[in-house]
């Protein structure tokens, strides 16, 4: 299985661990991710105003660079922007003409645009993944946190059922961990409000974490660097049961017997001498 791969800027910076663990796990599974030779930031947010064509130049350049081959990304925001830019190119001829003429590329919305989780579900299959697991995450109580960008708008993203998704839970189960479901798993974490309206983001994050705690989760997994930042930095957890937040790829790598922060955290805990 071979794919073109778009990392995006956060995966070369704050979220390097998502890239490292995914690439290592993919290699172990025989999935080839070939990084595009040239790429720019996707823009982080999809422009919702129809005349904001300038914000589409970068994602469309990326889509065209995949040359019709399946294009994979890991960051939920990158995937969201690429997928929606592709849909616009398919749907709106005027926008397509303006953007592709400006970029001097040929692109009419072709090629599969995938999140890596979709590769695991649709191309590899979770049964196959289960067979490949070397160190099942037995006894770990893991909750999925989806957030917004992978799920909505569902007509365009076509990622999973937007109100009751299962893809991350299916991965967690395949890795041998115990699935914990919390009702706030599809709620917004506050996104960029952590930059401008900290108090508001503190509230949204607190609700998500408390709901996961009530459901009995020890670990929360996400595919979004901004969700992770908010979940780790915006809420007040003093005196509450700690919950660790990891990228989905970190527990994936851990279960494949590869190095990851989640494996490290678990290692240190297990090595603490008793008594």
């Amino acid at each position: 299985m071979r794919y073109r791969y778009f990392p995006g800027c956060t995966l070369k910076g704050q979220a390097k661990s998502m890239e490292d663990t995914t690439l290592a796990a993919a290699k172990a599974m025989g999935i080839e991710l070939e990084e595009l030779s040239e790429w720019q930031c996707c823009g982080a947010v999809y422009p919702l105003y129809e005349d904001e064509l300038i914000s589409l130049l970068s994602p469309v350049r990326t889509l065209a660079a995949a040359e019709g081959e399946p294009l994979v990304s890991l960051c939920a925001a990158c995937h969201h922007v690429l997928k929606r830019a592709q849909e616009l190119m398919q749907r709106n001829e005027d926008a397509r003409k303006k953007v592709t003429d400006h970029l001097e590329v040929e692109y009419a919305g072709e090629g599969r645009v995938l999140h890596f989780l979709e590769v695991l579900r649709d191309d590899l299959g979770f049964d196959k993944l289960k067979e490949m697991v070397k160190k099942p995450l037995e006894g770990k109580k893991v909750a999925a946190y989806y957030g917004c960008l992978l799920l909505r708008p569902s007509k365009v993203m076509q990622f999973d059922d937007p109100e009751n998704p299962t893809i991350m839970e299916d991965m967690i189960r395949a890795l041998g961990a115990e699935v914990v479901k919390s009702p706030y798993r599809t709620e917004c974490c506050g996104a960029y409000l952590s930059v401008t309206e900290e108090g508001v983001a503190a509230d949204t994050v607190q609700r998500i974490l408390d709901s996961a705690r009530r459901a009995g989760a020890e670990i929360l997994v996400t595919a979004c660097p901004l969700c992770r930042y908010n979940l780790e930095n915006c809420a007040d957890n003093e005196g509450k049961t700690p919950i660790k937040v990891y990228y989905f790829s970190e527990i994936l790598a851990e279960a494949m017997g590869l190095p990851s922060e989640s494996a490290q955290d678990r290692g240190t805990k297990e090595e603490v001498p008793q008594g």
């Binding site: 947010v45 919702l48 909505r152 506050g190 960029y192 401008t196 930042y229």
Partner: protein, 132 residues
């Protein structure tokens, strides 16, 4: 600020560029019930739609709501009238920035700690949403 026909320029721009017609809203309130930041909004999403129907440009331009909206798309997912409220909010942000001027947020407002810890994605999306 009005068009030749006396309508609000801000609201007409918002309608044109968001492609959304506020008159389709029948005020059921599902959007406001779904919104994760409703409590922090001075105008709840359904009220924004009502104000748009009534042409209350000044009240909308003064409201905090478009700037506190996190673009989470939940309202749009739940609206029985298929109104994309995330686009309405973006439409208001951009129409206000373009017609009235003034950026809402800039790099100077970030603390050194934020600059060090925030993921790149947060900075890019913040600047994209609040600047023109």
């Amino acid at each position: 600020m009005t068009t030749e026909t006396g309508k609000s320029r801000l609201i007409e721009d918002m309608k044109m560029h968001s492609g959304q017609d506020p008159n389709g809203c029948y005020q059921c309130g599902k959007c406001s019930a779904a919104c994760p930041v409703s409590a922090a909004l001075d105008l709840k999403p359904h009220q924004v739609l009502r104000y748009l129907q009534m042409g209350l440009e000044n009240e909308l331009a003064e409201s905090k709501t478009p700037w506190v909206c996190a673009s989470c798309f939940t309202c749009a997912a739940r609206c029985p009238r298929d109104i994309d409220l995330a686009r309405v909010m973006e439409g208001l942000r951009l129409s206000i920035l373009r017609n009235r001027g003034g950026n809402k947020f800039g790099p100077a407002e970030l603390t050194p700690e934020q600059l060090e810890k925030l993921p790149q994605q947060a900075l890019v999306s913040g600047f994209r949403k609040y600047n023109k």
